[in-house]
Point group: C2
Chain length 150, copies 2
Amino acid sequence: MGQLDTSRQQGCELCVTEGGQLVVRTPKLRVIRVLDADHPGFYRVIWNDHAAEFTDLPTADRVHLMDVVAKVESLVREHLQPTKINLASLGNVVPHLHWHVIARYADDQHFPQPIWGAVQRADSKPAPEVLVALPDLDRAIAEAVAHLRT
Amino acid sequence: MGQLDTSRQQGCELCVTEGGQLVVRTPKLRVIRVLDADHPGFYRVIWNDHAAEFTDLPTADRVHLMDVVAKVESLVREHLQPTKINLASLGNVVPHLHWHVIARYADDQHFPQPIWGAVQRADSKPAPEVLVALPDLDRAIAEAVAHLRT
């Protein structure tokens, strides 16, 4: 079942937990789905070893990580047809390298603000077709990421 | 003097303006510094041609773009010693591919929130040594990015 993290930092949440609902795990990284009721098409690509910053990775790992981010983005676009994709690597709270890949919709609670910004329409609910599409999207991501070359 | 954008979209602000204080321009992209009084170590890497999403780029261009983002991140870390780097490609307001590279400090106005989140300490001002370091950092970024292979 995948591999243990080879580099762990004491007290780092992403060193000791999956960090969300696991979609796929490889020796280098994992993809999880964030269970966010307001933003359901929300994935994270999490580097398994502890690294704080993108440029802490060797170039080949950095390129591989972004290949996975791009693959997740492509599949989210194909399956969920969002208005926009938001990508971010922040890590202010948990400084363990992870990329957010978020499907955004023009009528979601925060659009056009980032999801960390002020709520624009508190009553907005995700479209049912987005929720229905998630299991197939999870499977497509798992399949694609498992077969990406490192 | 760089090159004109070869693909422009009517009404797109980043197709017709630099989008900030120009640091360096190459045939593919440009780096600008965002003049944000609260977050002075704030750069954007903007793709010259109009593309909305990261995965609208061919793979080689995508890899090159992230090489530039990583170079900017490395130099910001070296010159400004931030607490954390934040990277993001959002584009909800201006859907023309651009990456934010933001130096974050534990005592900045928004930390640990993203800069788009709620203000945590309204009175916080950037450290003078950060402001003083910016001209040298601009020059280092201009030099490095101009010499990166595409």
